[in-house]
Each structure stands twice: as C-alpha cells, then as structure tokens.
C-alpha cells in the first residue's frame, strides 16, 4: 500500500506548494497547513506571497505581514495544534535584508538611492528571491514544526527553485563588474570602454552613475546575501523539504504541473503528491446516471405529463396562467437538467484525460472537489483536504 500524503508530510519541516496561477494554490496551501496543524497537533506556519490578501480573510486575520500571526483555532475542537500565517511584504523584506547585510554607511546610501526605491518589485524577479529570504528568516527561528510555503506566482514555477542560484550568478556577473568599474578603480579597462559609451548614450550618465553607486553598495552585501542563498538552497535540497504540485484538471495548468514535476525529478527533488483542485463529482460518468439521462431523453413527454398532473394536484391554488404554462416549464427544466448533465459529463471526461497526462501514478493524486460557493471559513478549509490520510 502506498503511504498516504498526510503521513509523508508530517515528517517534513518545509513543504513547498507549486503550480500555475489561478488554480487555488494559496487556498490549498492554507488548507494543508490547517489540516496538518489540527490532525498532527503540530505548530504550523503558512507563508504566502499572494498579493490578493485572500488568505487573510479566510483565516480570519485582517492583515498579514512578514511577522507570523497566530490564527484563532479555538472554534475547532479536539486538537493541540497551532497555526500561524505570514505574508511576504516585498518592501519590508528588502529593508530587512539591507539592514542585516550592509554596514550602516552603505545602508544609508542604499535607502536614499532612487534605484533602490524602485527595485523591490522588479529586481531579478525579486518576488522569488524574497520568498526564499523570508523562509530563511522564519525557518532559522525554529519556532515551527512545519512551514508550508505558497510559492510566488511567477512566469514559471521553477524560477522559485532557481532564485538562490540566480542571485549568486548575478553577484559574479560581468555586468556587475562593468557597472561598478568606474567606482572601484581608476584604471579604465579597455573592454569597458565601448560598453560605457553606448550605455551612457542610451541610459544617460546620471542614471548610469546612480546605478553604479547602487551596485557598489549592493556588492558589499554579497557575503551576507550568498550565505543566506546557500542556506536556503541546502534546505530545499535536504530531506527536510518536500514538494506538492497543485493544478486544476485543465490544459494549461496541467502542462505547467507536469513540466514542474519533470524538473523536480531531474533535480532529484522529492514530490510528495499532486493535488488536483476544483474537480467535478466523480459520479458524472456512472452508468446509472448516464442511463437515467438517456431515459429522460427518450420519455421526457410522458414524464412531463405525469409531473405536471402531480404538481397541479399538490398546488391547487396555482393561478390559471401559470397552470397553462406548467407543461412547457417542466419541459424546459427537464431539458436543461439533461443538457447541464451532458455538459458537465463532457467536461469531466476531458478532466480525466488531462489528469492522465500529468505523469504521476493516480495513487499520488489527491482530488479536491469543486466548491459551490466561497471557501472563506476555517471549517471549509479544513474539509478540503480531509482525505489525505
């Protein structure tokens, strides 16, 4: 028998949730953290980067930030678990990094540089990097048994894994040397000349100077940065970490999920399971249901006559006009019932086809049912993944 997802996860310290945008990744991450806290009596933290702040609402918190906030679980009985939530705040995180990695003079210059003020949202896909940074900080505190990371919405889920490496590459890049050259050395290297000439013409000397100054200070943070990046890299690659891939059963998200799974295998990283969110009910293709739909199609007129008679008998006070229209109304309702069924059944068949394309054994797949309304309550979040044991 395969080990259940729940028992695989409870042994870990960090769970990364990855997947395409729009599949409900944040909700699933929160649900997973809550479920593990309650079922395993653990102290669990969920880190999200979702700027829509929806998680906060679902968890009953008005505002989230870098500092974890405890979620009130007193409404859920019979457990000793604790749940905390944090949301990555880009500006706050960058400021913290500068404060911890740069000396005080450099800090002052960095904070005053207009480029720094602009950089937080745009610098080398800094969402990915900052999420890694926040994880470093919170993991290092050792306050939590388990951390669930809702990975950032990026062009590609894999960017997140590469963030530490990219940062390292950036620090050792030729560009950084070229940009900071005039500020580090009086010797004008000839290779730099054409670069500088064209760069100045296009970008303007003032901007180029600010950029250069910024990166000189930025480089002074290199050691601190790289050490943190390496620590997180190590954590990602350790047996304390595992991955969950989240998708819906539709074309683009499944493509992205299976791409991510392939990347995990290639990097020798573990996949704990795949969660398919918003699944249609499994009985849609039951032979029983299909045969009832067929019978409805064959004998709708007879059924309408019987139903209309019964309805009139039950509702003697019905007004004449409605009474006359009752038969066509029943006809339309039953036709719609049939076509709603056929539509969803067709959708369900395509879901099955997509699910089979994901490239993992069906035993590794957890299906979460399509919600009928909003999920914004703890009991609903707790129900979503109650089948992982």
């Amino acid at each position: 028998m395969t080990e259940s997802l729940g028992s695989k996860l409870k042994e870990k310290s960090v769970i990364f949730c990855a997947g395409a945008g729009g599949v409900g990744k944040t909700t699933i991450s929160a649900s997973l953290a809550l479920t593990l806290a309650v079922h395993e009596n653990k102290s669990v933290l969920v880190i999200t980067v979702d700027p829509a702040k929806r998680l906060a609402g679902a968890l009953g918190l008005s505002e989230l930030g870098n500092e974890p906030i405890e979620v009130d679980l007193s409404g859920i009985e019979g457990h000793k678990g604790r749940l905390y939530a944090a949301m990555v705040d880009m500006k706050e995180s960058w400021d913290q990094i500068v404060q911890s990695c740069a000396d005080s003079d450099a800090q002052e210059r960095i904070f005053a540089n207009p480029i720094y003020q602009n950089i937080s949202s745009q610098f080398v896909q800094s969402h990915d990097y900052i999420a890694v940074e926040v994880l470093y900080d919170l993991y290092g505190r050792g306050d939590f048994d388990l951390i669930v990371v809702d990975t950032p919405p990026s062009r590609n889920a894999i960017d997140f894994l590469d963030a530490p490496k990219r940062m390292e590459e950036f620090f050792s890049s030729k560009l950084l040397r070229w940009l900071t050259m005039p500020y580090r050395s009086k010797v004008f290297v000839s290779a730099f000349k054409p670069f500088n000439a064209v760069a100045e013409k296009i970008l303007g000397s003032a901007f180029l100077a600010e950029l250069g100054e910024f990166f000189v200070d930025f480089q002074s943070m290199q050691d601190g940065f790289l050490e943190r990046a390496r620590t997180v890299s190590k954590l990602i690659n350790s047996d304390q970490a595992t991955f969950i891939v989240i998708s819906t059963a539709s074309e683009a998200p499944i493509n992205e999920a299976s791409f991510f799974i392939t990347e995990l295998f290639e990097r020798n990283l573990p996949l704990a399971g795949v969660v398919i969110n918003r699944c249609l009910p499994q009985n849609l293709l039951d032979r029983e249901v299909a045969s009832s739909a067929q019978k409805l199609d064959d004998s709708q007129n007879v059924l309408v006559a019987e139903l209309t008679g019964r309805y009139l008998k039950e509702n003697p006070a019905i007004d004449d006009d409605l009474g006359r229209r009752l038969s066509p109304i029943f006809n339309r309702v039953l036709s719609e019932v049939n076509s709603n069924y056929l539509g969803l059944a067709e959708l369900y068949s395509s879901e099955i086809a997509y699910k089979s394309k994901i490239g993992v054994d069906s035993a590794e797949i957890i299906e979460v049912a399509q919600e009928r309304g909003d999920i914004s309550s703890l009991p609903n979040l707790l129900k979503m993944l109650n089948n992982i044991w």
Partner: protein
C-alpha cells in the same frame, strides 16, 4: 467612416493598440487571440503579440514556435513573441545606427543584463517596441497578450517612471511620444479579463485601481470569462427545486432510475456555479467596469484551446458588445 458613430466592437477595434491583461489562468490569451481574430476578419492587418511567452499562442494556432519576427498565421493576422533582447537589438539598430551588429554580441548580452537589473529597462523595451509598431503604422491594430496583472502596471507606467529615473539620455528622449500614444484613449486601451470568482475579481478590482492611479492608459473593456449561465428563471427554479427535493423527485426517480439523483446533482452544481458567477459579474460591473463596457463570455465546454475556441469566444464578445 459611417455616419453613425462607431460603437461596440467597431469602437474597440478602431483603436491602434490594445493590451489584454488579467490574473494568470483566466483565459487572457484566448481573449487576445479572439480580438485579433475579429480584427483580421474585418480585413484589418493585425499584429498579435504575446509578452509572457508561455507557448499559448503557438498551441492555439497550431505552430511549433512563434518568434520575435511576426509570422502570418491566418489571413491578415500576424503573430509574434516579445523578446527583450531582440527588441534591444532592433532598438540599437534603428536609433544608434550601429554598424555590423553581430560583432556587438557581447555588448547586447551586457545590455540584457542591464535590462534585468535596472528597474524599468525591460519594461520600456517591451512598451517601446509595441508603441513603435503603432507609430510606424506597420499594422492597422496591435493586440497584446500582456503580462499578468502584477506586471502590466509597471510596463504601462514605464515611460513615465523611466523619464523620472533616467532624466537624460536617449531613452528619455523616446518616452514622450510613447506617452502620447499610451495616453490617448482613441489610440490605446486596456482589456481586462477576469473569471467571475472571488480571487480573480478581487485582483481585477486592485488592478483597475492601480491602472487608473499609476498609468495614463484607459480601460476599454472588461471581459467576464468562462461564466456558467443561469439557466432557470424564478418560476423554473421553483419547479426545479420541487423536482430535486419535493414530491417530484420520487416520481422522476421511479421513471428514470437511481441515476436521477446524479442528474439533479449535476444541475445543482451548475446552478451553484452560475449563482456565484452572477454575483461576481455584478461586482465586476460595480467596481471595475465603472465607465467601460463589460461582456460576459460563457464557459465553452466542448472545445480545447484552438481556432474553434477563438472563433466561439470572438462571437460572444462581438454579440456582448452589440
């Protein structure tokens, strides 16, 4: 021009530059392709450009790849993928008249690094290339399958932002005419795509606010995509409920067999989704489409991404705007 002022789809397609955006996974690429399809059907020469190349475009048009150089994929319809390095090369060629560009390979690579590191450079290259196509009138209309919500604002705000940050230099000299193109609602518009669910709508509300606060580009259309239509009127709903829970359910189950509850279940799910969708379409109307039209595109169940789906969505948009 006809005597009557253009309205509906004609008004939208009379613009020269349309940015289609929205949260990831809402069907933004399909809507962009559908608008391009509608334009090309009107014999307008149309450029469809994907900015965040995930490969949706080539899948939809059944190509193995679509590169920076526009390629004719349908009559009157050219498709391309944005590539900042190629855009930079083109820019250098046009404005610096740099000779023998291939030999400057390392230089261009260095600039790609700058584009990565310096705020606004990548964005201005993307927006600059698109505005340039408009200014040079290479096409009647340029339709952009834009970056997802998070990034589009920094792109559209980049001419302004870069102007403030760079102050002097060639790039700054270029930003004025770009701003002129972006600012004019007759020339440029944003089409915001959302599904009618909680998170996408919330993100659309925030995006619309940021677009209006931080950019000069105006919202031209809101598309509520993949909406499950409400199929029952109030009276029909009463009848349906009687069939689902009332005495009618026993009669139907007797006539049709045990599967009847499955049939009813499917319709209950459909109704619940339609009801949720309806609520969020109303919210989109109230909070996002304040001064722009909104069209609903029904969930298309039977078609995978491809030309069939594009045509179907195009028809919905056209009908919705009529």
């Amino acid at each position: 021009m006809s005597a009557k002022a253009a309205s509906g789809i004609e008004a939208l397609l009379s613009k020269r530059l349309i940015f289609v955006t929205g949260k990831g996974g809402v069907g933004k690429s399909t809507v962009a392709a559908s608008l391009a399809w509608l334009a090309s059907q009107r014999k307008m020469s149309t450029l469809l450009c994907q900015v965040d190349a995930k490969g949706d475009l080539q899948r939809m048009f059944g190509r193995s790849a679509i590169g920076f150089k526009p390629e004719l994929v349908r009559p009157n319809l050219w498709a391309m993928s944005m590539d900042t390095e190629a855009a930079l090369n083109e820019y250098l060629k046009i404005y610096l008249r740099l000779p023998v560009l291939p030999r400057l390979g390392p230089l261009a690579r260095a600039f790609d690094f700058v584009a990565n590191a310096a705020p606004g450079v990548r964005e201005i290259l993307v927006v600059g290339k698109l505005c340039w196509e408009v200014r040079e009138s290479h096409y009647d209309i340029v339709i952009v399958d834009s970056a997802a919500s998070g990034h589009i604002v920094s792109q559209l705000a980049s001419p302004k932002g870069v102007g403030e940050l760079f102050r002097v230099g060639m790039v700054v000299d270029q930003t004025a005419w770009m701003s002129d193109i972006l600012r004019d609602p007759k020339t440029t518009g944003v089409v915001l795509v959302s599904t009618a669910e909680e998170t996408p709508v919330q993100e659309s509300v925030e995006l619309a606010e940021r677009l209006s606060a931080q950019t000069e580009v105006s919202l031209a259309l809101v598309v509520a995509n993949r909406v499950y239509p409400q199929v029952f009127s109030k009276t029909e709903m009463e009848v349906f409920n009687w069939l689902a829970d009332g005495k009618g359910s026993g009669i139907a189950a007797k006539a049709l067999g045990k599967g009847w509850s499955g049939l009813i279940g499917a319709s209950e799910l459909w109704n619940a989704m339609a009801e949720t969708n309806c609520r969020y379409v109303d919210l989109l109307k109230e909070k996002v489409a304040k001064s722009s039209p909104l069209v609903e595109v029904a969930e298309v169940i039977s078609l995978p991404a491809g030309l069939g789906l594009i045509a179907e969505v195009a028809e919905s948009i056209e009908a919705g705007l009529a």
